[in-house]
């Protein structure tokens, strides 16, 4: 049996909006195995974005434990969390989140700016990552000269750069047409199957969620259902 790469134990997250308290997560416990391909589904307000932010070490839970790759990370300070995002997590967003007026290559290199890799290795690794998503010939194009699908592939290349333990994708096909969407999902599938990278994806589209091998459904801050292929 594969090792658990992520263990969530009774995660709770409470926001204070003015006087009222909002319970975004009300006790989520779940384990993700190494090499899993998981889709998180649920209506808006179900807490999936909150869960995503916590999984991505962008936010900390109010209570509960989050063990990532054997390390309890839910109580780490901001700087340590930044280091973990840099070394272990790759993000893919709905709106790509690339730097505009900047070449694809420079965008892909970005995570290496914040790790200790020298300039020459940096370019080599960025070019290799671009090649793995089939964008070698686009490496010196500025991001605003690229199509939506190409931009998302640049974002994937960026996510791959530090050999992450985990790729987190937040509605990765939300801005793309159906043909480009399946291109992107194919890339994810290949990365997951060939490189054994753990994938976690938030989506509300059932046909996109169908690419994953496990699906969990969130409602009002709790996991209400799990499906496995």
């Amino acid at each position: 049996m594969a090792q658990n790469i992520i263990e969530l134990r009774d995660l709770k997250k409470t926001y204070c909006i003015g006087e009222t308290e909002v319970n975004a997560l009300r006790g989520v416990s779940y384990a993700i195995e190494e090499g899993d391909f998981l889709a998180i589904m649920g209506p808006s307000g179900s807490g999936k974005s909150t869960l995503m932010n916590i999984l991505g070490c962008l936010d900390r839970p109010s209570s509960g434990e989050y063990i990532l790759d054997g390390e309890e990370v839910s109580r780490l300070d901001k700087n340590r969390l930044a280091g973990i995002r840099n070394q272990k997590i790759g993000f893919v967003f709905q709106s790509y989140n690339l730097l505009s007026r900047t070449t694809a290559l420079e965008n892909v290199e970005l995570p290496l700016l914040y790790s200790s890799v020298n300039g020459k290795d940096m370019t080599e690794r960025a070019l290799a990552a671009l090649a793995s998503v089939g964008l070698t010939d686009r490496s010196h194009h500025k991001t605003n000269q690229l199509s939506g699908g190409e931009q998302q592939r640049v974002a994937i290349a960026r996510a791959l750069l530090n050999d992450p333990t985990l790729i987190l994708a937040d509605e990765p096909t939300g801005n793309l047409d159906s043909r480009t969407s399946s291109d992107i999902m194919n890339i994810f599938k290949t990365l997951n199957e060939d490189k054994k990278i753990t994938m976690v994806m938030v989506t509300h589209e059932p046909d996109i969620a169908a690419w994953a091998r496990k699906r969990i459904y969130l409602l009002d801050g709790l996991i209400v259902r799990e499906e496995r292929d």
Binding site: N79, R85, F91, F93, R101
Partner: protein, 413 residues
Amino acid sequence: MLKRSLMHGTRTFRVAIRALGRNKMRSFLTALGIIIGVGAVIAMVSIGEGAKRGIEDRFASMGTNLLFVSPGSRNVRGVHSGFGSFQTLKAEDAAAIEELPAVMFVSPAVNARAQVVYSNKNWNTSIQGTGARYPEVRAWDVEFGSYFDESHVRAAAKVCVLGADVKQNLFEDEDPVGQVVRVKRIPFKVLGVMKRRGESGGFGSRDDMIAVPYTTAMRRLQGIDYIQSVDVRAVSAALMPEAQRQIEELLRVRHRIAPGAEDDFQVRNMSEIAETAAESTKIMTILLGSIASISLLVGGIGIMNIMLVSVTERIREIGIRMAVGAREKDILLQFLTEAIVLSLIGGLIGIGFGIGSSRLIKKIQMFSSMNTVVSVESVLLAFFFAAAIGIFFGFYPARKASRLDPIEALRYE
């Protein structure tokens, strides 16, 4: 470790240059504030330095073992009138001072302004009545011809020596020696021309004068029986205090001043006067420099303003950088570096601009008597001031950027 931080440094620097390059026009306009500020500081301070240098040169050329004796201020029932209001200093006093052991030469002075006429030309200049030892006292030689001697002085002879400017204006290329000029309709025979001493720090030309025997100035030109002051050259710089003491003692006796009563004369030495003059130009330099510094400060506020706008515009970029692992420190350093690079580039261009305008000031005819000196200190000072302004005014926007919440920043539209 050092290599790593060096690598990070150059990387942060490159990122900053790239970010500034994305908005060239705005970066230039922001730097312009610093360019003008640094340029103004350097140019203004160079004017002050130039004046200071001029005064120093002027005093240095006269030598330091020079003393001036002038009448004191009159105090009548508590009312002080200005220096020189006494008419008690006589030619005999000057002669007695010359006999003192610590004194080498003296030259009495009786000065006025008047029109000097030669053929169909005339010129308004300073008529300086001096003793025959004036060239030795003031360390100022005759260029050609000769200075008048004791016999001319004794006879109150109608002879004169021209300053280089007067010679130029009245005679141009003609040889003036042996010619006759008229002052107040009295004919004066020209004996010689003084060496050119040049402009000095905004005080007009020292060559715009003619020298006549002080006796002639007293009797023929002004009709007075007293002298205005005495220039005294002491035997050596070391004997200055001794010479000063001897002169004071002598004059108190000669003027029959009772013990405890106020002197009716004043003895000042060259270094005192030089110090006073240096002090006043220093104040001028500080004043000019601080006015110019205000524009540097305004430039700094401009940087802060633009950096704040830039942070707001780039919130999403900051979010992306944080998501891929930038720490607070990385974001802080990036924005701080941008501000510092802006002000340093502005500072460098400003130095060029300042040196250029100080040269220009020197060249423009209108300010012909103005000398400017760009000192290394003022350049370094302005440059480090610019860098400090970058750090000071860049810090607040940079900290604001680094404190952003990555989730909010990523969602920002």
